[in-house]
Amino acid sequence: MSRRGWWLIAGCVLVSLAILAGCGRLWQREVQAYIEAPFPAKLSAWHLFTAHSPALQPNRGVIPYDLNTPLFSDYSDKFRFVWMPPGTSARYADDGPFEFPVGTVLAKTFAFPLGVQGADKLIETRLLVHAKTGWVALPYIWDNRQNDATLQLVPDPVPVKWTDRAGKPHDFTYVIPNANECRECHDNQKVLLPIGPKARNLNKDYAYADGAENQLVRWNRLGYLQGLPAVSTRPIAAKWNDPGSGSLAQRARAYLDNNCAHCHQPGGQAGYTGVDFRLTQTDLAHQGLCKSPNSAGEVGALRHDLVPGHPDESILIYRLESTAPKVSMPPLGRDVVHEEGVDLLSQWITSLPGRCGGASDRTRLP
């Protein structure tokens, strides 16, 4: 073959490669949802993010969100994103989580300020995927170089050592739940469900790249949410650490709602205890007021879940202040005590009127 022929072939190959590469990039630009096993080993295969340093950059259609009162997770920073297949939307629900379409991906990334000058280091990204057969939980663990995260059904614990803004040192072992343990919190009557994305928790402004907007409004505007009712009827949970957002009781109950109610509600893993911490449960007796526990748990010498005026006599506080396996609540996903959360609930219990009857009533003793 002539030299010219060789050049021609080489040129064709180069052009083909360039086209292929271009296509590859085009494919990569769209989120790829997997709705049945096997699920990809790498987080990058989902194409949820276009970059992850210095911060996670969502891909097209991936919307960041946060919650009025989040679950406490060892003081980690959390970055939440939602994606739904084009043309689909979630159905609004007043109380429980929205009804998300098949293919929905909820991504929550946990990070600690372990990097240079307190920059966040990504630890894990948990995907909740609405697969064909229902929701599945997929824990992806970030590699040390922060290049990508790998699906690990049984992740190793991570030693975490950092200093917060107030100068307080944190040094503990962060335990990442395994795929079975995800269900301990997310199962309700043996069905795995999302916990956070409820109307009352999403009903807040978020500072998007193009400006602040109410999350429910934005989801609705972008076609991710249908059935949104009038503004006045949308429930709103208090922000646990913002006194401007609600009364002490409202903030305490919002904290219990999103930290405890996923188990402590009828049908939840701890429904049998009779305690219902949902914000919609307005009867304090069902939230443990003067209630003695009916199941075996390590409660010291204490007799009641909530003793009005006496946080130190309340089992709720005793268990939130512990990190021992038999005692601590929640039993999973908390390896350090949430001091500020305990303060809030203690203040609330101190403010409760009345007293408990029964055998432990100290006021009867001389």
Binding site: A296, E298, A301, P331
Partner: protein, 430 residues
């Protein structure tokens, strides 16, 4: 050296290296790979565990149906949870068609083996143990199936539980056989369960041997139809070591052979119940069995009043239709547990000792049955066992010592049969 020799040396070295690296497998690796195996398990899978002692620092869980976990023997394959950091249970199963056999679970923070809400469950030759012996900081339960259906627990061993060694709660169609329970607070607790056979079990050196009862405040009520036969409940005199926080069990008198509380349709026969120092057999109403503090607390709790109201007929505190026959009951009540107020008062009134069989005689006034034995508690052919109805409802004013007044008989209860039970299903048939 020739080149071939170099190769040989190299091969040997490589072999040694490989072998040593296998032997040095880190304990976390076993924990992790086993947990992975359980998460990925599919129906029909058998997860084989090798011989050896393996350390775990967090709960091992299974949610897939149809899985078998099989060790090499309960003295050979040991899952040790000493120093457990995460989760309270050792092995936590929320699945059906599950079998676990030939394995030991030791020193868990909370319960040893929990099986929740499963159908067709077999626990076979499993040992749960707290190796330091009786201690109030031990986990409450050894083998703990709850809300199960078609459950078989056999040839297993439980030691050191701060509540019950072998517990069955809120379950249906159950066989508990040939197990050994010792050095626990309670040997066996058969609670709020229906259609249950317990036979050829041994309970010794516990605080109490076996309890057959219903408790309020639990979702499943109405436990009944329980047969206990060919069991050995002997010398259960280990001082009660339950922490107060565990509730009523704290008040179980040390030296209780068997107690039957707040339940109906029970048949107890061919058992040896001997040398239990408070009482060999205790037949009681819920209020007699549960301490005043607990009762007052429960009654005062607003949630009890709303959710489990006292008039809620789902809970029946009375005991009735109990047939107790052909047992060898002897040597009981020689040194009653004075720590428990009711026992202390009774023993003082009787000169410091108690009879083999105690019945509180409390009957529901609304039954309206005539005669001295409205509760149909029937006792016959129990050797020389001494007896007392201490008339708890009437402030002990009309005690009855003559067991012949209770010489009625009830129709035998039918045997339990399980789909997964092989052999011995006819055991205990007369």
């Amino acid at each position: 050296m020739k080149r071939a020799s170099w190769w040989a040396v190299c091969g040997v070295l490589a072999g040694v290296f490989l072998l040593s690296s296998c032997a040095r497998q880190a304990p976390e690796d076993f924990q992790k790979s086993l947990q992975e195996q359980l998460i990925n398990a599919k129906a029909g899978d058998i997860v084989n565990l090798p011989e050896g002692k393996f350390h775990f620092d967090r709960t091992l869980s299974l949610t897939a149906n149809g899985v078998t976990i099989r060790g090499k023997g309960m003295e050979k394959t040991i899952l040790s949870f000493a120093g457990q950091k995460t989760g309270a249970q050792g092995v936590l199963v929320k699945a059906s068609d599950f079998t676990i056999e030939d394995v030991a679970i030791e020193d868990t923070a909370g319960d040893g083996l929990t099986i929740q809400g499963g159908t067709n469950i077999i626990v076979r030759r499993v040992r749960t143990e707290w190796t330091r012996g009786p201690n109030s900081a031990n986990g409450p339960y050894g083998i703990y199936p709850v809300e199960c259906k078609n459950l078989l627990v056999e040839d297993s061993v439980a030691r050191g539980a701060a509540d019950a060694g072998v517990y069955v709660g809120q379950s249906e169609n159950v066989i508990i056989r040939r197990n050994r329970s010792e050095f626990n607070v309670d040997g066996y607790e058969l609670e709020n369960s229906e259609n249950l056979d317990a036979y050829e079990n041994v309970a010794t050196h516990n605080t109490g041997g076996m309890g057959i009862f219903n408790l309020p405040n639990l979702p499943k009520q109405g436990g009944r139809h329980v047969r206990a036969f060919n069991n050995q409940l002997i010398d259960n005199n280990t001082s009660n070591f339950a922490p107060k926080s565990l509730g009523p069990i704290y008040y179980l008198p040390t030296g209780t052979g068997m107690y039957v509380m707040a339940i109906r349709d029970v048949e107890i026969f061919n058992n040896n119940i001997q040398n239990n120092n408070t009482v060999n057999l205790y037949i009681i109403n819920y209020k007699t069995g549960v301490d005043e503090d607990s009762l007052r607390d429960t009654a005062a709790s607003p949630i009890t009043q709303q959710v489990f109201a006292p008039e809620d007929k789902r809970f029946d505190p009375f005991v009735r239709d109990v047939s107790i026959h052909d047992n060898d009951i002897s040597g009981g009540g020689q040194s009653p547990d004075n720590r428990v107020t009711g026992v202390k008062v009774l023993a003082a009134a009787l000169g410091g000792k108690l009879p083999d069989i105690l019945y509180d005689g409390i009957v529901d006034p609304t039954w309206g049955r005539g005669g001295a034995n409205q509760g149909q508690v029937c006792l016959s052919a129990n050797g020389a066992a001494t007896f007392l109805n201490f008339d708890a409802a009437g402030q002990m004013k009309h005690p009855v010592q003559d067991v012949k007044q209770y010489g009625c008989s009830l129709a035998p209860l039918t045997a339990v049969s399980l789909p997964q039970s092989t052999g011995n299903t006819a055991a205990g048939q007369k």
